[in-house]
Symmetry: C2
Subunit: 143 residues, 2 copies
DNA sequence: GACTTCATGTCAACAGTTTGACACACAATC
DNA sequence: GATTGTGTGTCAAACTGTTGACATGAAGTC
């Protein structure tokens, strides 16, 4: 098997996964990007917009409009006055944590269906292999 | 390990892979989307724009402007008169096959670096696991 | 203290993509 | 043969995301 096929395979898997997630998140009024944003803010509250952008692989400009949208919908609140480095940390509102809980369930269903036919051992193996690929690619960038 | 982590891991890996591919393809004057387009046209010449769109997970409208761009750059040629179902098959020009050969080398380097530290057995394993995930998700869509 | 450097937030212009709509062309069905 | 259904190509509007630029605040350096 040519290793090049792994590239398109990763893209295909991610594309289909994204489609499924969009299908289950749309009824909740969330896009996949918005869900990723809420998820990161829940794991680490008070995080800055730029940091959020890095974690979700988008520019900080587009993350800014994304957070503004969530703010308009009353899902996040940002510190009114800037902090140390002019940064304005964002926090989830109570409404957001409720929606996020339902979104998490929906996403778990999708990912669960994806790994349905895999044993625990195989899931660990997949996790290890993908991590190795990601890290190898990340190392490649700095040299 | 929670299976949910596999979702973000797939996204992370695909994102970094996309970045690396963009870095090596940009000097050749190709975007990742354009490369994918040429690659598919090389494997199956005369393919239609809509089919191309399905294989690269974009709408047929955006694939249309993409192919138009490649046509302007003299990389693809489309049948002047529509075929059976109003379809206009596209073919690669000689210049395209030359650029594609160099692009393939560049991409092989990236994917090669990604799987550098993996044995042949592990690559096969990764391929099998990812295929299973993709197919499970694809099955999920139709029910 | 003045200077450079770096990170954040934000504005504006731009490119790429999607959604919705329409016009065809062919196949299938009645 | 008329009708319905499906697939293709294409136009226009809307959305999402990127790039470039600027102002600001904080830290380091001379």
């Amino acid at each position: 098997m040519s290793p090049d096929q792994l590239g398109v395979l990763i893209k295909e898997t991610q594309a289909v996964l994204n489609q499924r997630m969009d299908e289950v998140l749309r009824p909740l009024g969330l896009s996949v990007s918005q869900y990723a944003c809420l998820r990161n803010l829940h794991e680490e509250p008070g995080i800055t917009g730029s940091e959020l952008a890095r974690r979700t692989f988008v520019s900080r400009q587009s993350m800014n409009v994304l957070v503004q949208g969530l703010e308009r919908h009353g899902l996040v609140e940002r510190a009114p006055e800037p902090g140390p480095r002019r940064e304005r940390g964002a926090m989830l509102t109570h409404a957001a944590t409720e929606i996020l809980a339902r979104a998490d369930n929906a996403v778990s269903d999708v990912v669960g269906a994806m790994t349905e036919h895999l044993g625990q051992e195989q899931r660990n193996e997949l996790h290890a292999l993908l991590s190795a690929c990601r890290d190898a690619l990340a190392r490649e960038s700095s040299r």
